[in-house]
């Protein structure tokens, strides 16, 4: 009964929802930019390999009283401009594979690494059986990483009330939206915590908690001022971009991959390889996304000042070479004129791709491994985006 009510509430919600204005621009690795057909094909094949569409991950979370409550509350936000509406839409809008790719990677690498190793004193799998080549604990971990990512998105949608403009809507609406955003994010995070506790592996708890800490730190280390406006500090280098990307998305994916290996009792070497893979695919993915506004001018250029090409340009030519007060189009045009920067970024992306694939060298050839390689290649190939 509760399940049915939840679904009715949510489908009604979807029909009312409008995309709301996002106060604070760029979503690092929102991964819902227009995709190439290569990418879609790679993901679709991969989902068959792991046994089910990973979009199901969002559904399980929805089947709870708390989130049914949240759905009802979020309806009150319709017509306001609170960012939670946009996040909710993305979260509920399954079938686009947009928010779930993290989990898919973790499932794939779990399968690619294969069955538990013989050295098993500290891992008890007596109750576990692999389904489609993946342990239940690894599946649970994949879901947990998605929950954490969503929680972070939701919390980053909390709005600073003292910087509201008239166009943002009423204070009361924003306060209410914040309240719901805080509570739903908290609910997702504690669901992740209890899920982690159920895995009965303190090493994994430690790794994933470190990833959460990193993601939260990213909010403070981002190249933005208090109002969310991009800034380019003196002496900015490309390593700033790498660090920020690692904190924001690389940490969760790399530690998630490593944790999946730990759960199956694989040795240190395999764990490090998985971690290396996760980190580099995250870098590659972010670089790919950052390059999109420079290839396809129709893409939302929010957050352009923290994008890799801009940072690289500023590193080479000095931060004063970018007029941060001019419009996005001007900045994009400046960079495009300097072909070197774009090419450098593309090559960097391919480099991340190579490192990711190399990290998989120690894994036996398999369907899952090929799927991972395909995804890497789809991320680092730069063909014209079909509009």
């Amino acid at each position: 009964m509760q399940v049915r009510k939840t679904f009715i509430g949510i489908s009604r919600l979807l029909s009312y929802i409008r995309v709301a204005h996002t106060q604070n621009a760029r979503c690092f690795v929102s991964w819902n930019q227009p995709k190439t057909s290569d990418w879609k094909k790679a993901v679709s094949e991969a989902e068959k390999i792991v046994g089910y569409p990973t979009s199901f991950m969002s559904l399980r979370c929805l089947l709870s009283d708390e989130l049914a409550n949240v759905a009802l509350q979020v309806r009150k936000l319709v017509g306001t401009k609170h960012p939670l509406l946009k996040t909710a839409r993305g979260f509920l809008d399954n079938g686009k594979h947009s928010l779930q790719t993290r989990g898919l990677m973790i499932l794939l690498i779990s399968k690619a690494a294969g069955a538990k190793s013989e050295n098993m004193e500290n891992v008890d799998h007596s109750a576990d059986e692999m389904v489609s080549g993946i342990y239940p604990s690894q599946r649970q971990l994949a879901e947990i990483t998605e929950m954490i990512n969503t929680a972070n998105l939701v919390h980053r949608g909390v709005v600073n009330l003292d910087t509201l403009k008239d166009t943002d809507g009423s204070l009361k609406d924003m306060e209410f939206g914040n309240k719901i955003a805080v509570l739903s994010g908290d609910f997702l995070l504690t669901s992740a915590s209890t899920g982690l506790a159920e895995l009965r592996n303190t090493k994994v708890v430690e790794l994933v908690s470190m990833a959460i800490g990193d993601m939260m730190s990213a909010e403070f280390t981002s190249l933005r001022d208090r109002n969310g406006q991009g800034v380019l500090p003196e002496g900015v280098t490309f390593s700033c971009w790498e660090r920020q990307t690692f904190l924001q998305s690389g940490s969760l994916l790399s530690r998630g991959c490593r944790s999946a290996m730990e759960l199956a009792g694989h040795n240190e070497q395999v764990q490090m390889a998985a971690e290396e893979f996760g980190k580099n695919i995250a870098y590659a993915r972010q670089m790919n996304e950052d390059l999109l506004p420079f290839a396809n001018l129709g893409v939302d250029p929010n957050g352009i000042l923290s994008s890799a090409p801009v940072i690289r340009y500023a590193e080479v030519h000095g931060p004063q070479s970018i007029d941060t007060f001019s419009g996005h189009e001007k900045i994009i045009a400046t960079i495009i004129r300097d072909n070197e920067t774009i090419e450098w970024c593309k090559e960097k992306c391919r480099d991340y791709g190579r490192k990711a694939i190399t990290a998989l060298d120690s894994f036996e050839p398999s369907e899952a491994k090929s799927a991972l390689v395909n995804i890497v290649q789809a991320t680092t190939a730069f063909k014209p985006v079909k509009s």
């Binding site: 409550n69 908290d186 504690t190 915590s193 908690s209 959460i212 800490g213 909010e219 403070f220 208090r226």
Partner: protein
Amino acid sequence: MYLKHSCHKTKKESLCTAKVRSHGLPYLGQRFKGRQAEKDLNSPSTHPYTLVENHLNGITCRIKQDLKAIDHELLHVSEYYFDGQGKLFRPMLIMLMAKAANFHETQMDRLLASQEKIAMIAEMIHTASLMHDDVIDAADSRRGKPSINQVWGQRKAIIGGDFVMAMASIELARIRNEDVVSVVAQITEDLVRGEFMQLGSKEREEERFTHYLNKSFKKTASLLANSCKAVAILGQCDEGVAEVAFEYGKNIGISFQLIDDLLDFTSCDHVMGKPTAADLKLGLATAPVLFAAKKYPELNAMIMRRFTEEGDVETARQLVAKSDGVAETRELAQNHSREAVRQIHTLTNSKYTTALERVADMVLSRNK
């Protein structure tokens, strides 16, 4: 009626072989060979805070070391409420329970490093929840200074709270005990469920009180109950003792919350450090109001609309004052404190069990 464990039960393994996880060695203390602990409840030697003074001193510093922030602003945000202005009630109680449980189990006076960690983790979790509460309640101030959201904005307050929570989880994992991880994870789940419970309200009056007590458990008592249980587990105590620790923490927590809710009606601003009738203004119906509604049914409509109509807050306040709501709340708190004491009597007598009895009393007599 209570059980008294005899002193000649077999001593557990000595300090050297005791299984202490990860960091450090257990603190070496004196051994009590069958000496009865002083029963004088007013003696300074059983004063709760004094007994664990050594461990409490510097706990805030040690917590700050665990907040491994890589950025200055994040450091300031996460440290904001670890300023030494908090009462450290929770760490004090948890450490006392640890010592009492250890003495019960081993007749030794000691506190394990892992148990001290739990006390720190509990304080971190509590503080993280305060950071979120301030945003949810749109608070202006706390403990006499601007609230964290006033200083850094809502977003950084929330994300800072998440960061503190993550650091607590890392320390928890490093204790390397899966049972304890589960028990502490339960706290975070309860905290959030408690907040959700506060969002909704029960339509039927009979359900309201149960709902309120349940919510009070989740929001306040669960932290104490589960932390006490965790330290008992770490002290190698059996399930029975862990249950006693849990029940003690739970009853103290509920008593604490009831008194808190009562003080909201009886106290005035400068004593509490936060504005009073705060609960009513937030639309919350706490024990004094729920009791008063039995005598003044007109309160029920106000409860349902969460005191949003003009004059509701003032009317409710007056009706509560006229009724026995406050007295009935105090009586309920006393019952819970008494139950906590009854639980602690099942453990071997020591100055720590005596101190825990005093805590049950302190909770009732606080005025802020």
